[in-house]
């Protein structure tokens, strides 16, 4: 501090001239260091980011190619049939006509007589329909027949569409009261993502499709008002 304070201009000039030859090299080294931090390192980061982007895009391309290969190989007619089959098994909305047809089919195959029935629709709100669990309609159904015939009716009902589940059976002599639930499921709004892998139908699901094909019946256009051997009281509330 003292030196600077006591040095006059001529002395400063002398110091400057003494180290003059160092300045250029020193300046170049400083510039190189600055370039390293402000140009080369960001450039390198940009390069590594780009490489990871390339890897991501390459992955997506591989998926897209697989998807394209799979989609091109799809038999559209078969797919349409499968869609129809699964939608019959699990309708997208409450299929009353389908339910009545299922009951009638199971009844005619098993030889039981169908008596009164009541639908318990439950909540009609959209939230119920769009819930993750499979929604259902409950039906309280009376049938007449001996226990073997009722057993056969249950077997046949399990093989017709829409899919159902009998949760309670109350038989008294030849009169039975059954609590049956028929399932349905709405089709959710789909957003097709081409870059996610399209999964082919698994072996287990192929087996289910085969089973459903075995259960499928040609369902005629069914008139709900047509008489079936029953007196129906369908009450949605």
């Amino acid at each position: 501090m003292n030196f600077i304070q006591t040095t006059d201009d001529s002395q400063l000039k002398e110091v400057f001239l003494h180290y003059k030859k160092f300045y250029l090299s020193f300046g170049i080294i400083c510039v190189c260091i600055l370039l390293l931090f402000f140009v080369i390192i960001p450039q390198f980061q940009q390069y590594t980011e780009q490489q990871s982007k390339v890897a991501e895009v390459e992955d997506r391309i591989a998926t897209l190619k697989k998807n394209l290969q799979y989609v091109v190989a799809i038999n559209e007619q078969q797919q349409g049939t499968d869609l129809q089959l699964t939608t019959q098994a699990l309708p997208e909305e409450k299929d009353y006509a389908g339910i009545l047809y299922a009951v009638r089919t199971a009844s005619s195959r098993s030889g039981v007589g169908v008596g009164d029935f009541t639908f318990s629709v439950g909540e009609l709100s959209a939230a119920n329909v769009l819930s993750k669990t499979t929604p259902f309609i409950s039906m309280n159904l009376n049938v007449t027949g001996k226990p073997p015939a009722v057993g056969l009716f249950l077997t046949e009902l399990a093989k017709v569409f829409p899919l159902s589940n009998v949760s309670e059976i109350h038989l008294n002599n030849n009169f039975s009261n059954l609590l049956v639930t028929f399932y349905y499921k709405s089709i959710p709004a789909l957003k097709v993502n081409y870059t996610s892998p399209i999964m082919p139908i698994s072996g287990a699901n192929q087996k289910i499709l085969e089973t459903l094909r075995g259960w499928q019946t040609d369902r005629p256009s069914f008139d709900v008002t047509a008489p079936i051997e029953a007196s129906g009281s369908a009450s949605p509330f």
Partner: protein, 177 residues
């Protein structure tokens, strides 16, 4: 004997300075060259990256796939419904099988008058005039339970004889597997 430095002191210092300048100059040239080389090399690597080409390929593939969006959507719907159907088939009760097993061990002389099936419980009320038939039926049910065929537990809830008609009435409760 000691060495005698014939150069003046200022010349020695000047030589040291020249040497330092030469080293510094070389270092600066090497650094400059390395910086330029690395910078150009990275620039070339970035410039020659296949990113743009890959992105274009991706777009082209998406455009190709978008023409088959119906097939993709149908595939998703089928999968989703099959998963739900699988769940239903796995969880639904198979009471018809239980009834079939029960009827398979039911002697002809026994008649079922009442049957209640709910939450894995099968309750049967039956009638017969033959105590042997009732005994056979009960033994067969116990055998089924022992063999763990559909039945987990068997309980005889009541067994009565109606004197006027000579009919036996009995109620059996079974917990199903």
């Amino acid at each position: 004997m000691s060495d005698i430095n014939l150069l003046p002191k200022s010349s020695v210092s000047s030589l040291k300075q020249e040497h330092a300048i030469a080293v510094l100059r070389q270092l600066s040239i090497i650094l400059l060259a390395a910086t330029a080389f690395i910078s150009v090399a990275i620039f070339i690597l970035i410039f020659s990256s296949p990113l743009t080409r890959s992105q274009e390929e991706e777009k082209a593939l998406i455009a190709q796939l978008s023409t088959s969006s119906n097939r993709i959507a149908r595939n998703v719907i089928i999968q989703e419904r099959l998963n739900s159907i699988s769940q239903i088939l796995k969880t639904r009760s198979a009471y018809e099988e239980d009834i079939k097993v029960l009827l398979s061990v039911l002697p002809d002389s026994i008649e079922i008058t009442k049957m209640n099936v709910f939450t894995d419980t099968l309750q049967v009320t039956a009638t017969t005039t033959s105590i042997d038939a009732a005994n056979t039926f009960l033994n067969k049910l116990v055998e089924l339970q022992k063999n763990k065929e559909k039945i987990k537990e068997v309980t005889l809830e009541s067994f009565t004889l109606q004197g006027s008609t000579g009919e036996y009435f009995f109620t059996i409760k079974m917990t199903l597997l």
